[in-house]
């Protein structure tokens, strides 16, 4: 369970996140949708304790992220999949992550298999394609078998087959009762992935509703989305 209450983050004069409140519940995929610069990534960084809010709070399982013990066993995060040091082998990258949170190293091999990188475990990450880095990032997020997942644009760089694989994986993770928050600006992808949508524009909440509520018969999510964020262009 993720709870965001009155979350605000000001960068110099600009309000990146402006009084945002929403709850992400377990057992379903919540899509976090908004145009570029809407504050999706900033919200996720605030949620993960990578940045301090100007006002308001964000909690995971009732606690601010920085108060969680062994956080990787409670929250799995994928922000920027390219933010890895290229000189390290895929398995080594997961080894240090596992070690830092007291997670068994035995999980590393199984997870690399799960994300389709079993063959590349001993290869240096610098030679990976964007899609392979996304898969590695997802393996890192799942390393601690967390109940909550926070994923920023996880389908970026994946080929069509990879996108479908990712969608099926997220659905099975939600079906296991996990809380899944996935950001995207790809509306068509969200329309077939998410059960629930949180729509933001210019740092403000525009909608927090089930997919079925937003998409009335005869309209598309794209039309609904464009209607919701209309007038938000900076």
């Amino acid at each position: 369970m993720i709870e965001v209450t009155g979350l605000t983050r000001r960068f110099r004069r600009a309000l990146a996140v402006d009084g945002l409140s929403f709850t992400v519940r377990p057992g379903r995929i919540t899509g976090f949708l908004g145009p570029n610069g809407a504050g999706k990534t900033t919200t996720m960084r605030l949620l993960l304790g990578l940045d301090e809010p100007t006002a308001g709070r964000a909690t995971v399982n009732g606690l601010p992220y920085r108060k969680l013990s062994r956080p990787l066993t409670q929250v799995g995060a994928l922000l920027d999949a390219t933010a890895v040091q290229g000189g390290r082998r895929a398995e080594q990258h997961l080894w240090w992550l596992a070690r830092s949170n007291g997670i068994s190293r035995a999980r590393v091999g199984a997870l690399l298999e799960l994300v389709g990188l079993g063959h590349a475990a001993g290869r240096r990450v610098g030679g990976f394609s964007l899609g392979m880095k996304q898969r590695l990032g997802l393996a890192a997020a799942l390393l601690g078998d967390p109940g909550v997942l926070v994923l920023d644009e996880p389908a970026n760089g994946l080929d069509p087959e990879g996108v479908r694989w990712m969608r099926d994986l997220l659905k099975s993770l939600a079906a296991e009762g996990r809380t899944v928050l996935v950001s995207s600006h790809l509306i068509s992808e969200m329309a077939v992935t998410a059960d629930h949508l949180v729509v933001v524009a210019r740092g403000r909440l525009r909608a927090d509703a089930a997919l079925a509520e937003l998409v009335r018969p005869g309209t598309s999510l794209e039309e609904a989305f464009l209607g919701l964020v209309a007038g938000s262009a900076p």
Binding site: L48, A83, Q85, G87, L97, R99, A140
Partner: protein, 251 residues
């Protein structure tokens, strides 16, 4: 402890670590071998067994001086490399306490720096004894331990100052430049100035050189150890304070 173990995996899984260590140790060993042979060849034949042993230890730690810069760079890279790649975010998601991350890196780097100094000192010492065999050097006279402790502390401190600078400046090139200024440029400039001696008492380099018998004594041994030790602790704690306050990333 798990943060320390994780940082050790990180450090040893990068090739740049082994390049920095390989370059530092082999450069230092080469200088030790050359220097020791030259110095020992000029020794007075009446030198006692204790004087010979002391001379060997002093010659060995000249090499450690040279290994400071590669090790200091290793210290900066251990954190600036994560900022450059963006992996620092993953590190802080895994270990949210900035202080714990930085202190874990400091623990690992201290061990590596002390290990590197041993990798230079032990072979250098054995080589020195071989070259100076005709003086029948004793094992290790009491005074040699000051040199050994001072030389080891010197390289550990330089590595930790590098880490602190890397953590605060976040940019590898800027941090290495600042490190070179503190360890090399400032002490050299201070030596050429009339009022430089009091300044040098408070920089890390002169106390270190005094302890390893490479500069005339200008302060008591305890004072030299205190100043050098403070350079290992104070910049690191300042960096912990700065990083924990976490200046916002402006986007």
């Amino acid at each position: 402890m798990s943060a320390v173990a994780a940082e050790w995996i990180k450090l040893r899984s990068l090739r740049s670590t082994w390049w920095a260590l390989g370059a530092g140790v082999s450069l230092a060993l080469a200088l030790t071998v050359l220097g020791a042979s030259t110095v020992i060849a000029r020794w007075d034949p009446d030198r006692t067994a204790d004087q010979a042993a002391m001379g060997i230890v002093v010659a060995v730690y000249v090499g450690v001086v040279l290994a400071q810069l590669p090790l200091g760079m290793l210290g900066t890279m251990a954190v600036s490399g994560e900022h450059a790649s963006g992996m620092i975010d993953t590190t802080f998601v895994a270990v949210p306490s900035r202080a714990r991350v930085l202190l874990a890196k400091a623990a690992v780097l201290s061990g590596v720096a002390a290990g590197a100094s041993l990798l230079i000192a032990v072979p250098g010492y054995l080589f020195g004894r071989l070259v100076a065999a005709r003086f029948h050097p004793s094992a290790l006279p009491a005074a040699a331990w000051t040199v050994i402790a001072g030389g080891t502390l010197m390289i550990v401190v330089t590595t930790l100052v590098g880490l602190a600078l890397g953590a605060v400046l976040r940019n590898g090139a800027a941090a290495v430049a600042a490190l070179a200024a503190i360890v090399l440029v400032l002490p050299f400039v201070a030596r050429t100035l009339p009022w430089g001696e009091p300044v040098n008492r408070f920089l890390p380099t002169y106390p270190a050189l005094q302890l390893i018998e490479q500069a005339p004594d200008i302060m008591p041994v305890w004072a030299a150890f205190t100043v050098l030790g403070a350079w290992g602790v104070v910049p690191l704690l300042a960096a912990v304070a700065v990083v924990s306050a976490q200046p916002p990333r402006l986007e």
